[in-house]
Symmetry: C2
Subunit: 282 residues, 2 copies
């Protein structure tokens, strides 16, 4: 396992693998890896001969008031985890390697990005689509792995790949949770002890919503109402959104008559966390 | 030489060539091919084992009041020309093959596209970048060929390829002119006999500007002034712009102290034509 810093090094390594007829999987991450990322690396290692993990805190997907500077980084710990899970390369470029002077191109879309996190983070998905496009062009993987925790991101990337004819298979992997239910996130590290306790209300709301769906509830406002009531009972939590949307369009629906995503974002103190479930997975 | 209509067919053919270790060149066109396109196909045929010519009038790069409907089409004549010049495939998709229902992704950039043609055609370069990205992802060529007549387009595509790490070599080919000097263009077919005569004023202005540069003139406003005066002497011509810009940034400059592009657009009757020269080529 090696850490590479330049685009040229990644390309040279992938070219060598390709010349040997090997398949390549890509796991794009912002580093500070946890078991959620590990499950993506495991999946790639299972499906492909070689696995590249990109480890890059992408400035372009952070808004001006967001946590770009404070986002946690630990490349040595990341390297250890990648090695343990069978990854072959970590691509860990400096921002200047990815965005040289005069950089001004971007990839974006006019639907899917206007709802959910796109509302509170208006430049976010442009940054995600652009950096993922760059990583795809650098690594040219056969398959790329994304977590379902970032459900809207997964939908946006699938749509981008389809619209722009990128010849890459996109694999979505299940949310990995702590023993008590909290969805794994690099941002959990921001939480104080009291906030860590309070954050549990998100996964509790997810489980409550799943339970209602399992019992046959079709009325989205009833499900959302109960979930919001639960989250609002926690004084340290402030809801950004709790919504149920069509999986294909990310547009809100009122009745569970098609595959849907129930997604939420909430601030616990000053930390914004997300969680969700797909009705198909209930 | 065969005409293929679907993305799957192109991919299957290119995959077969790749399995044989062959290199592939791409010549993106909107069809109604002329000697300008032929020179691109010749260049690709010379540099690559196989050449794909795309022949697609891309709706996304036309504004609502532009000539999408009337843009000339003649796939049979195009096929003959491609065959004569050593092309191996024409990719001639229907619009619905390239833009399925729900299509909403795009590639664009924040600089280079704000000047020259980008001012009079605000959605144009987003359409160009998007369709060229799609074609690159479908064909995955080693090299792609563009004419210098569309000088801003060439600069925009080079910038996009660089910014987004597309692993494709971009080759710019010289403008091809009629015997009397008029730059070859599919849109020349719109011109009446009188307009065809009047259109000559564009290339005459280009030659005048080149001559001034050759004689050592460094003052951009002097060069532009003389070129405009010449074009304005033609009653059927209406100038859109005559500008001298930095080759790298497409921003206007006042003094020829770096590699520059002198570009113009003018309406001859209702037909918008462009012409240009690079100071490096003088």
């Amino acid at each position: 396992m090696k850490v590479v810093k330049t685009i040229d090094e990644v390309r040279a390594q992938v070219r060598e693998w390709r010349a040997q007829g090997l398949t390549v999987g890509l796991v794009p991450t912002m580093g500070y890896l946890h078991e959620g990322h590990a499950s993506l690396i495991d999946a790639s290692h299972r499906d492909n001969d070689r696995t590249v993990v990109s480890d890059f805190v992408n400035p372009m997907q952070f808004g001006p008031t967001e946590d770009l500077e404070s986002y946690p980084r630990d490349i040595e710990r990341d390297a250890k985890l990648v090695e343990e899970h069978g990854g072959d390369i970590i691509f860990n470029p400096e921002p200047s390697e990815m965005y040289h002077e005069g950089f001004s191109s971007f990839v974006d879309m006019t639907v899917l990005t206007q709802e959910l996190c796109g509302l509170s983070r208006p430049v976010h998905f442009r940054g995600v689509c652009t950096v993922v496009s760059k990583l795809f062009n650098i690594v040219k993987p056969d398959r790329a792995y994304f977590g379902k925790k970032d459900a809207q991101q997964l939908a946006v990337i699938r749509h981008m790949v389809d619209d722009l004819n990128m010849d890459i298979e996109i694999i979505g992997c299940p949310i990995v949770r702590e023993a008590d239910g909290l969805a794994k996130s690099s941002r959990n590290t921001y939480l104080s002890e009291a906030e860590r306790e309070a954050a549990l209300v998100l996964s509790k709301a997810v489980f409550l919503g799943m339970d209602m769906v399992k019992k046959g509830e079709k009325d989205c406002s009833a499900i959302i109402g109960e979930m919001k009531k639960l989250i609002e009972s926690e004084p340290l939590a402030r809801i950004d959104y709790v919504k149920i949307v069509d999986c294909a369009t990310m547009q809100q629906i009122t009745c569970l008559d098609r595959p849907a995503l129930c997604a939420m974002a909430a601030y616990i103190g000053s930390t914004r966390l997300i969680d969700n479930f797909f009705t198909e997975d209930v």
